[in-house]
């Protein structure tokens, strides 16, 4: 497990670097899919089978399809136009370096629990047990999450659905149909 942990840890960090520094949004999305898959591997390594399956189905499956769909619908994959100022770049890097240093110090020196003392036989992520806790101890939270998702669906439809204004003049279904009609009239 230790070897797999290190290999996939390095792969995860590399693909996360790809997400942050890839010049085109679509490449960022593909790197993010890779990162999510590697995280699913980590979850499986830790014995959290249910979460690993959810990670692949919900994140890498549903959410990333939505993101890629929006990128391609809006034609956002415009190529490398990095116009952020040097000041933003350096101050962001310095802030993140300090933040990472703080977190690493906390996780390597100041842990308030003894590492390695817990249950680590990998039996914690049994889907049956997770499901049982989900609908007994966390029943109300589960129902609230269902309500939240419902509200999010309604909000997304209300925000995105505007029949009066197309996404971009001259693009979309009307434009395609118009150009097809033009082509047909030219042929006729």
């Amino acid at each position: 497990m230790i070897v797999a942990m290190w290999i996939f840890g390095v792969l995860t960090v590399l693909s996360a670097l790809g997400v942050v520094f890839a010049p085109r949004p679509l490449h960022s999305a593909l790197w993010l899919v890779g990162t999510l898959f590697f995280l699913a591997v980590h979850f499986a390594l830790m014995g959290a089978d249910f979460i690993a399956a959810l990670q692949v189905v919900v994140y890498a499956g549903a959410i990333m399809v939505l993101v890629v769909f929006v990128i391609m619908l809006l034609g956002l994959d415009e190529g490398p136009t990095q116009n952020q100022s040097r000041l933003t770049l350096y101050s962001g890097a310095i802030f993140c370096g300090l933040f990472l240093g703080l977190l690493l110090f906390a996780f390597t020196h100041q842990l308030s629990f003894p590492i390695g003392s817990g249950v680590s036989n990998g039996s914690v992520g049994d889907p049956r047990e997770v499901g049982r806790v989900l609908v007994t101890d966390f029943l109300y939270a589960f129902e609230v999450i269902a309500l939240l998702l419902f509200a999010a669906i309604i909000g997304a439809v209300l925000l995105a659905n505007d029949r009066k204004r197309p996404l971009m003049p001259g693009r979309g279904l009307k434009a395609v149909q118009g150009s097809a009609n033009d082509a047909a009239s030219v042929e006729a």
Partner: protein
């Protein structure tokens, strides 16, 4: 290095990378994906601590984070589409009417 500590450190590195992306990138979609990266790093930390303490509730929290992330993806991408409809761009340098 202990397994739990390894995953805490990995989660910290991924969270910091997500923060860096949110701070330095200008494309709203990429910023959105970096936020997903930060959410996932927290999920990793929670699964590691769930394993450490033999407690299932950490994984239930991960389930809730995923549901909230799905809701955030739906609404966030709808907001991005609305911004694109109004500004014909999704870069934060173009959409800045609330910047004061």
């Amino acid at each position: 290095m202990e397994v739990t500590q390894f995953y805490l450190v990995l989660g910290a590195v991924l969270f910091t990378l997500g923060t860096l992306g949110v701070l330095i990138r200008r494309n709203t979609i990429v910023i959105f994906m970096c936020i997903e990266l930060m959410l996932n790093s927290v999920n990793l930390t929670m699964v590691a601590l769930s394993r450490q303490f033999g407690e299932v509730s950490g994984q239930v929290f991960v389930f809730f984070v995923m549901a909230v992330a799905a809701a955030e993806a739906a609404v966030g991408l709808a907001i991005i589409m609305t911004a694109f409809r109004n500004y014909h761009s999704v870069r934060t340098t173009d959409v800045h009417d609330l910047a004061g």
